[in-house]
Amino acid sequence: MDVLNALVLFANFVLIPATAYGAQLALGALGVTLIYAVLRFSNFAHGDTMAIGTMFVVLATWGLQSLGVSLGPLPTALLALPVGILGTVVLVLLTDAWVYRFYRSKRSEPVIFVIASVGIMFVYNALTRFVIGTDDQRFEDGARFVLRVGDFRAWSGLSEGLAIRTSQLLTLVVMVLTVAFVFWFLQKTRTGKAMRAYSDNEDLALLSGISPERVVRITWILAAALAVIAGTLYGLDKSFRPFTYFQLLLPIFAAAIVGGIGQPLGAVAGGFVVAYSEVMVTYAYKGILTYLLPESWRPEGLVQMLGTDYKFAVSFIILVVVLLIRPTGIFRGRVI
């Protein structure tokens, strides 16, 4: 029985990657849930907003790198982030002015907004592929590891190694800071409270003198910023490819709904629920069980519930189960 090695294996291949992935999903789901709470529709273009936003960051990063700018051990992409956010905010506000405002003035049904957002999704995706191409793009630099496998093995004396990548630690830190800011903004500032009031009871908010145009604008700005940050962190962690972000829509929506759509806290909790489920259901437990069980009980097969190709099936199942059993989610959001 080798508990320590089993724990390290678990931490290295499940705990750390799932936490990083969960943080990225949390930020994505937070943007989706804010748009749902205030603008009252499911924004299917959010994934490709992440794509185009990250593309801006990638281009700006390459620009900075060619100028010789670097941030030491941290990725240069952090410096490029404000540029990416600015570009995406402009794009998103233009989209609202040219597309969504028309339907708002006609007081269209939410499903019309959803279909419009599907169209926007295609446009954003096409723009991204047009500008940067469809291949993998790498834009990370700086130190790759915070903790190396070799260093860990030397320190612990175990046969299994633990590695923490800079991108994973960065994801966690940035997520905590961003979420803290969003919560502070919503709970403590006048504009944030006005957004919550508008989301709670639109008519009463209008009666109280809250400007709907301003609330809508701030929501788009926040959601765009969250999308760019989430997309950049994901791109630094894995790599940037335009189509990946579209695929992230499913786990992001699953996360938002599990947590309770329209509830910011729910988006964050949901992100981790989905990430941990995905990783734990598709992980091959053979290694861990080999460490924990006596010789005669050791498994021959991989002991993997679902192949990693079926990762998205996990999100899909979570989504369907939650909608069937408890549509309001953990923190009781609106029922869609």
Partner: protein, 234 residues
């Protein structure tokens, strides 16, 4: 010249008129109550005063100023407060946040006004951090009225404030309304509980099918045998 003079209001939501030459007036510190059978147009009349209904004819004057063309938000800025019948609080926000949102259009420090609201409704001070949705019906009505009072209105309009509350709570609410009127605010109220409402009313308007049918002091209307026969149940 009354403080609020809504004269000869005629209009409706679509092609058909609901109000026909309806007139309502209130003075500062007065309580005016609108009563009538179901479908008489009581809430419609009040919404017309607030600007939520397009008027084909008639005008609304507040303190001599013609406000007929102003939108509801502009009328709030002009000094009107409106408490809707349903969905009149932000259920997910705390009592204190509800009051803060009530004062949204104000630039100045509104904490003195919030203290006045808490003095008027002590239970709200106790529950200031609780989400408004968790309060009982009567307490929620207090939050709704408090929210409207945060702009320091000169005219407060209440749409059926005692709808769905128990008789004891209704008495308490009417007491509070009397206290509010005592501070000099004009009160215009639509009520189904005609008897109790007319008992505290300085002026009573009985509307039938969008028209003024009886207009008198509350006391006189309660004593009037025809009014008693037609809708107070004798």
């Amino acid at each position: 010249m009354s403080f609020l003079a809504a004269e000869a209001m005629t209009g409706g939501y679509g092609a058909a008129d609901i109000l026909h030459a309806c007139t309502l007036t209130v003075d500062r510190g007065e309580i005016a109550v609108i009563v009538g059978p179901n479908g008489a147009g009581k809430s419609t009349a009040m919404k017309a005063v607030f600007g939520m209904l397009p008027l084909r004819a008639g005008q609304v004057r507040l303190d001599g100023r013609d406000i007929t063309r102003l939108s509801p938000q502009e009328r709030v800025r002009a000094g009107m407060g409106f408490v809707p019948q349903v969905r009149n609080v932000f259920v997910s926000m705390s009592v204190e946040e509800n009051l803060e949102m009530g004062a949204f259009i104000r630039d100045d420090d509104f904490h003195a006004t919030m203290e006045q609201v808490f003095a008027l409704f002590p239970i709200l001070r106790q529950k200031r951090r609780q989400p408004a949705g968790e309060l009982s019906g009567g307490q929620r009505q207090q939050v709704a009225v408090g929210r409207a009072l945060m702009t320091k209105p000169s005219l407060l309009m209440l749409d059926e404030p005692t709808a769905g509350v128990s008789p004891i709570v209704m008495d308490e609410l009417f007491d509070k309304i009397l206290e509010v009127a005592a501070t000099g605010i004009a009160i215009l109220m639509v009520e189904q509980n005609a008897r109790q409402a007319l008992a505290i009313a300085d002026r009573g308007y009985v509307l039938v099918q969008g028209r003024n049918r009886f207009t008198d002091t509350g006391e006189a209307l309660l004593a009037d045998p025809e009014v008693r026969r037609t809708f107070l149940g004798g």
